[in-house]
């Protein structure tokens, strides 16, 4: 069954992180145009990532012995919430911080932890996720990239696609087949850490419909990996990937992708003097949804902090969150179109931000598990599958 979510209060010691982070961001992002801040967690800025690392805000939940902040999930929630609300350009370190680091902490050898985690915490190692392939999207278990044993490690052949930031990352953690055949599906899969500078690795960025490049194709042509490339247990790749996806789905980021647009629209409304009842109602509707989503996301964090595995509940909140993120630009588009057609002046930056978010919005419910897959997970939680 699906567990009930209990409303959770943010512990005071974690809440205390908010104002220092906010003060830093207010200053650091002062000159950043709103059209760039609208990119939110897809905005890539190495210097910004290093500046966060310098303040101890990368790897916040990783142990201090590896250079991390040694703090809990609630602290990270506060940090992420402030970063996303401000539209901070966190893309470079985002995946490493959110899931690759925690994965290495959970499954890595001591040597792997000591090598990678400090680099992640210093903002010197950026990671990407090697899961999807051209013939393995939602059906992830059908991956065909293969790592074959050699005397010194593995040789890898195959390819990945839709790999965010592969062209700007140092490492990839990839799900590959290490034994058996494709029809074995979940069995015989492993995860490997690939140094993307190795010979045989070719990366081609994919331009998306907004004109930006985040997704990539990554080709592996007889890439020689050493023994230490294997992370976790050979053959346990599927369970490890499921754990990694739980990290990916559990933060507050799945509700805040459109925050910059929302804030910009509110600034516009406040500047108008008299606001009609339609936009007011619309704003209230958005707020009522967002406030509840935020409370649900925080409740999931509490479960994680308690050592629970809220897989189904996280899928539920992610699906609702991305639906909200996608609805927001559609609703704002309608009300702004009404304003424009009625002869009102609408600021150009707001319209540009709206255009960008509208275009990028379909990707919100494709990344990290599509809507239909997540609803299947929920259905399983209801006992229907």
């Amino acid at each position: 069954m699906i567990r009930s979510l209990s409303k959770t209060a943010m512990p005071a010691e974690d809440e205390a992180l908010r104002m220092p982070v906010r003060a830093f961001l207010d200053e650091a992002l002062r000159a950043m145009p709103v059209e760039l801040r609208a990119r939110s967690w897809m905005g890539f800025d190495v210097e910004f990532s290093r500046a966060l690392a310098h303040r101890g805000w990368l790897g916040l939940t990783l142990p201090e012995q590896y250079g991390g902040g040694g703090r809990g999930a609630f602290s990270r929630f506060v940090l992420v919430e402030e970063l996303l609300a401000a539209g901070a350009p966190v893309s470079a370190h985002w995946i490493a911080d959110r899931q690759s680091g925690p994965l290495i902490l959970k499954y890595g050898t001591e040597a792997q932890k000591q090598f990678y985690l400090p680099l992640i915490c210093r903002g010197e190692a950026f990671f990407c996720i090697g899961m999807s392939e051209p013939n393995a999207g939602s059906d992830l278990a059908s991956v065909s990239s293969r790592a074959v044993r050699t005397p010194s490690g593995w040789v890898l052949n195959g390819m990945k696609i839709w790999t965010t930031n592969a062209h700007r990352s140092h490492y990839m953690i990839a799900l590959v087949r290490t034994s058996g055949a494709p029809q074995d599906r979940h069995k015989g899969l492993s995860q490997v850490i690939i140094d993307l500078s190795l010979p045989g690795v070719t990366i081609k960025p994919i331009t998306d419909l907004t004109g930006d490049q985040h997704f990539c194709e990554v080709f592996f042509d007889n890439v020689q990996l050493d023994d230490a490339a294997l992370i976790g247990t050979e053959g346990a790749g599927w369970e490890q990937v499921m754990a990694e996806l739980a990290f990916e789905r559990s933060g507050p980021e799945r509700i805040y992708s459109s925050m910059v647009l929302l804030e910009e629209w509110i600034v516009y409304l406040r500047g108008r003097g008299r606001v009609g009842s339609e936009p007011i109602k619309l704003l209230g509707q958005m707020i009522s949804h967002l406030a509840v989503l935020r409370a649900m996301a925080l409740s999931i964090t509490a479960m994680l902090q308690n050592g629970e595995s809220p897989t189904i509940e996280a899928a539920l909140v992610k699906d609702m969150g991305t639906e909200f993120e996608q609805q927001l630009p559609l609703l704002i588009a309608d009300t702004l179109a009404n304003d424009l057609a009625s002869g009102r002046a609408v600021p150009s930056p707001l319209l540009k931000v709206l255009a960008y978010i509208t275009q990028i919005a379909p990707s919100f419910s494709l990344r990290g598990g599509t809507r239909e897959i997540l609803r299947g997970v929920i259905a399983r939680g209801l006992g229907l599958r």
Binding site: I2, S4, L5, S6, K7, M10, E81, E82, A85, M259, L262, E263, I266, L269, R270, V275, S277, P279, I280, K281, L282, L283, G284, Q285, I287, S288, H289, L290, A291, V292, L293, R294, A295, M296, S299, E313, L316, D319, M320, E372, L374, R375, G376, I378, A379, G381, L382, G383, L384, R385
Partner: protein
């Protein structure tokens, strides 16, 4: 504490507020206007009185349990799940605020009127009072005072359809003579001049508190509707398998589960603030409480249409019959959505507040 209360009430309501009992009460109300002297719900109310839940919010010094809003949240949820045909939560709120050493309230169920309208002749009418037909008393908040009027003294007309428990109630011009509250205070409740709180917005606050109670009832009844629908989809077979195996059904039920989950959290958002509405509190705290209630009632109301329509879609024709228990719950669901403001009413409140608070960041506004 919450779990202990929840389990105790679950057991009680499971036994006494069954669908059969609800049908019996509704049928008795339908066939006779003069049920006031021997109400069909008398036994049910007595069971609730005996359980002690009715005084859960009353301070311990005055003979209650002194629980907080969040601690009694499971009570409201359970009342919703069992489609309890009595204003238990509303009675608890009124007794929690108004019961005091100098004023002991009558024992019967108390409904809270959403709106009070004065006729030109001085009569007082309250349209669509939720649970007006199963209440002994109605709390009517007017300006800076509140009055506890006997249902028996009103002309009561059912305001909904069929087994609705809501009623249009009207009292003749001499209604203040019927007020059960201590008239030496001129009809005001003793706590009305809170230190620093003043009396402004009193009517609004009672309205909001009732809306908050309804938000939890909505969350509870939607939880029950989800359970019934999943059970039905797991039992009903067509085309050689249970219909719950079809993806179209699964995806709809997932959407339903999402709405129910959100509704339950929304109601908790409201209940975590409800105390500030009716106890002494600063203006800022009270303002936040109003916003929390707005989120609670708006979001639970917004979930109702999808939950009701998916439930009836999955149940098919059998769920449309009077005989099937689904209708007991979906009828209540729609009525509760309408009471004390639905989506638009509370969305406007939230939108107005956020636009007006020019220095307020959204990320702070939503952290209720």
């Amino acid at each position: 504490m919450q779990e202990v209360i929840a389990n105790a009430l679950e057991q009680l309501l499971g036994a006494v507020s069954s669908p059969a009992e609800i049908r019996r009460i509704e049928a008795a109300l339908a066939c006779s206007e003069s049920t006031r002297h021997q109400p069909p719900w008398a036994g049910l109310w007595k069971a609730l009185l005996d359980s002690g839940f009715v005084d859960a919010l009353v301070p311990e010094g005055t003979g209650g349990s002194g629980l907080s809003g969040m601690e009694v949240f499971p009570v409201a949820l359970a009342a919703g799940r069992h489609a309890l045909p009595l204003p238990l939560m509303h009675t608890m709120l009124v007794r929690g605020v108004l019961n005091s050493a100098t004023q002991s309230l009558p024992e019967g169920p108390i409904a809270i009127a959403g709106i009070a309208v004065f006729g030109s002749d001085g009569s007082l009418s309250c349209p669509s009072v939720p649970f007006g037909r199963t209440a002994d008393w109605v709390l009517v908040a007017i300006d800076d005072s509140c009055h506890l009027l006997p249902a028996a003294g009103a002309t009561t007309v059912i305001s909904g359809n069929g087994g609705s428990l809501d009623a249009d109630m009207e009292w003749e011009p001499a209604w203040d003579a019927l007020d059960a509250l201590n008239l030496r205070h001129g009809g005001r409740d003793p706590g009305v001049s809170f230190a620093g709180g003043g009396t402004s917005g009193y009517t609004t606050r009672w309205h909001a508190a009732a809306a908050c109670a309804h938000a939890a009832l909505l969350a509870g009844v939607m939880q029950r509707i989800l359970e019934m629908t999943v059970a039905y989809a797991s039992e009903r077979s067509q085309f050689g398998q249970v219909i719950g195996r079809f993806q179209a059904i699964q995806q709809q039920l997932s959407v339903m589960a999402e709405e129910v989950c959100a509704a339950r959290m929304a109601a908790q958002v409201g209940f975590s603030h409800v105390g500030a509405l009716l106890q002494p509190a600063s203006r800022a705290t009270r303002s936040r409480a109003m916003q929390a209630v707005a989120v609670a009632k708006a979001r639970t109301s917004a979930a109702a249409p999808a939950v009701a329509s998916i439930a009836h879609a999955v149940h098919g024709a059998i769920g449309f019959t009077e005989e099937h228990d689904l209708q007991i719950h979906t009828r209540r669901l729609h009525e509760m959505r309408m009471a004390y403001g639905a989506e638009t009413y509370w969305h406007r409140k939230l939108g107005d507040d956020l636009v007006r608070e020019v220095d307020r960041r959204t990320v702070d506004f939503i952290r209720l």
